[in-house]
């Protein structure tokens, strides 16, 4: 695969910066885009669909799970990893049902390494 | 105060005292604990707590002990939210039901390390009294919300439910439906057969209606006189109409004789149906007025029928009310 693009969707600037930093350390060749809400993410994806999307769950406006569900429908080729502090089984199950992978916050080099593995597997 | 006297004082307390060291081994265990576990300090000393009570593994109690030892955080565990966690009994030699427990967990610095103090209060009597009071008040509340004659909800129940359902429907923007149900020619029934028979008839109608609703779990209320009301959360006008029609048919086929009826030789009912997703200008009163208006139309059209309220639409000159049975 030529250099893939990862879209980072999180309302927290710090969270986006951390994902960006840890991903860059592991995969300096990846192209990175950012969105601060589900709506912005969907708009960006329509213009320029990325290979990978990392999604926060709790955001103002539409939730990450909803974004995931819509992407499964319209862009089944995009690989999605949910990255959230909401670690309940119900959320895990919802993520599984939507056919997306799941890593638990806090964002650390380890969680991001897991995320990268999930994207590439 | 010397250590021995301190230990004696602890033994006089009417609550359980346990102190765990950094490795969660038992260091202090007062008489109250011995009394309710049949385990002496000698038997438990230096044992890790989870080994002593394996039932705490992976519970909130264990989390809280760890939080106290490693983060110096205190916790409370209440009997309402936690099942009686520790195997403590009034008489541990013949254990029956566990004591209800209120547990406080606090970090205590000891020999340059963190220790964890666990205090346990017996809440059994309080919880029992609470349950008894709750049962009494529930039955009291049930009585004040029940119609004494027919056993279904009374007007107070209806008003209460209407308020709750309407608020809910408005905030969630969901439909709420109302059925106004009236027994046809009931005055004539009373006049001819007497009030006792009239009361009997009301009870029979209420029972048939309530039985007919069992599946959905909705409950009917007596709105007044021979009028009943039914609220259907989450139902749109079509669903509400079909439920109304089913109830109407149920009463007709129940075959309760009505010699004075102008409609049929048996008891029949007319039903007015209204339903909407509450818009800002619509109130609870709107829902009742629309159902009343539809009921009036059902009576006017010859009784023993259901009518759904439909807003007047000037464009195609439809009447205010549509008789869907036609």
């Amino acid at each position: 695969m030529p250099n893939p693009t990862l879209l980072i969707v999180d309302d927290s600037k710090m969270a986006r910066m951390m994902v960006r930093q840890f991903v860059t350390e592991l995969r300096p060749e990846w192209r990175l885009m950012e969105a601060i809400s589900g709506d912005e993410a969907l708009a960006l994806i329509e213009k320029e669909p990325p290979e990978f999307v990392s999604l926060d769950v709790n955001m103002p406006g539409i939730s990450g799970l909803e974004v995931a569900a819509r992407l499964r429908l319209h862009h089944p080729e995009i690989r999605i990893v949910i990255c959230t502090a909401n670690i309940q089984d119900a959320v895990r199950r919802a993520a599984e049902k939507a056919g997306v992978k799941f890593v638990a916050k806090p964002i650390t080099p380890t969680t991001i390494a897991n995320m990268v593995t999930l994207f590439e597997e | 105060m010397n250590e021995l006297f301190g230990a004696q004082l602890l033994d006089h307390l009417q609550s359980g005292i346990i102190l765990l060291n950094q490795e969660t081994q038992v260091c202090v265990w007062n008489q109250w604990m011995t009394r309710h576990t049949a385990l002496s300090l000698e038997q438990v000393a230096a044992q890790p707590f989870a080994q002593l009570f394996p039932e705490i593994i992976a519970t909130r109690l264990q989390d809280c002990i760890q939080q106290a030892l490693h983060f110096k955080l205190s916790s409370i565990l209440t009997p309402g939210l936690n099942l009686a966690i520790l195997p403590l009994y009034k008489n541990p030699k013949a254990p029956t039901q566990r004591l209800e427990q209120l547990i406080y967990i606090t970090p205590v610095p000891r020999y340059l390390q963190m220790a964890c103090l666990i205090q346990i209060q017996d809440m059994t009597a309080t919880v029992r009294r609470e349950r008894r009071l709750r049962a009494q008040s529930s039955s009291l509340i049930a009585t004040t919300y029940r119609d004494a004659l027919t056993g279904v909800g009374n007007r107070r129940r209806f008003d209460h439910d209407l308020m709750a359902f309407f608020t809910d429907a408005r905030s969630k923007q969901r439909s709420l439906a109302l059925l106004m149900i009236d027994i046809d020619d009931f005055k004539a029934y009373n006049d001819q057969l007497g009030h006792l028979q009239g009361d009997e008839c009301l009870t029979q109608v209420a029972t048939v209606l309530q039985e007919g609703l069992r599946q959905r779990g909705d409950s009917i209320s007596r709105y007044g006189g021979e009028e009943f009301a039914l609220l259907l959360p989450d139902a749109d006008i079509d669903l509400a109409y079909s439920i109304a029609e089913r109830l109407r048919a149920l009463i007709e086929t129940a075959n309760i004789p009505h010699p004075a009826s102008r409609t049929k030789p048996q008891i029949t009912i007319s039903i007015g149906v209204s339903a909407f997703i509450p818009a800002p200008h619509q109130t609870m009163k709107t829902l009742i007025e629309q159902a009343d208006q539809a009921l009036y139309q059902a009576k006017d059209a010859g009784r023993n029928r259901c009518m759904a309220y439909a807003p007047f639409d000037a464009a195609d000159f439809k009447p205010d009310v549509v008789n869907r049975a036609m």
């Binding site: 710090m14 951390m18 | 955080l73 209120l102």
Partner: protein, 207 residues
């Protein structure tokens, strides 16, 4: 002086979300159902402005659980819900069929425990991520009206005190309730907290 910059606010919000995420996990195991908790907004205000800023006419009867934390910085953490909301949370946890009128002393303890879970989770996520230590006391519960909030009574307040104010949304059994998380701090404690945030951001290499 009285300011947190965008990145600091963002970091705190993220850390509190981590904390309430863990608390939601504990609560959901207790009720055997999904519980959602989130803290969408963070605000720094003068303690004396709290009552007007936040409470205003929105709700008058309050339920609050407080815990005192001491350590690298000292704070009184407060979980605050309109009384009706608090009662509906507790009745949902204890017995979904119970009417709020039926709640008693006994349920106040349950509210205490819920507050305990949420506030401890927030503070331990700060402690974890900042690699610092706190000591936390036992929770206390009050019912109060806004005018006589014991914590915000004038005798407790000086101009030296500030409040970190977070909205908290809790969804349990399809019902959504809103409350607030408050951290009452002295100005010097606030500065200590912000130092922790800055060091944390530096350690992560994003400041």
């Amino acid at each position: 002086m009285l300011e947190i910059n965008e990145l600091q606010g963002d970091a705190l919000k993220e850390l509190f979300n981590l904390g309430v995420g863990r608390a939601a996990h504990s609560l959901s195991m207790m009720v055997n159902d999904e519980v959602e908790l989130s803290t969408p907004d963070i605000l720094l205000v003068q303690a004396s402005e709290v009552v007007t800023t936040l409470l205003g006419s929105e709700f008058s009867q309050l339920s609050m659980v407080t815990i005192d934390f001491t350590g690298t910085f000292n704070a009184t953490a407060v979980l605050l819900f309109p009384e009706r909301n608090a009662l509906s949370i507790v009745s949902h946890m204890l017995d979904p069929h119970m009417l709020p009128e039926e709640l008693s002393e006994f349920e106040q303890e349950a509210m205490c425990e819920i507050g305990n879970i949420i506030l401890n989770a927030c503070m331990s996520s700060l402690a974890d991520e900042f690699q610092i230590e706190f000591e936390g006391g036992l929770p206390m519960h009050y019912f109060s009206d806004t005018d006589s909030l014991p914590l915000f009574g004038s005798q407790y307040l000086s101009h030296e005190q500030v409040v970190l104010l977070l909205q908290i949304h809790l969804t349990m059994r399809q019902e959504q309730v809103q409350g607030h998380l408050l951290f009452l701090l002295s100005v010097s404690s606030l500065n200590a907290l912000l130092d922790c945030v800055d060091r944390y951001l530096v350690r992560l290499g994003i400041q």
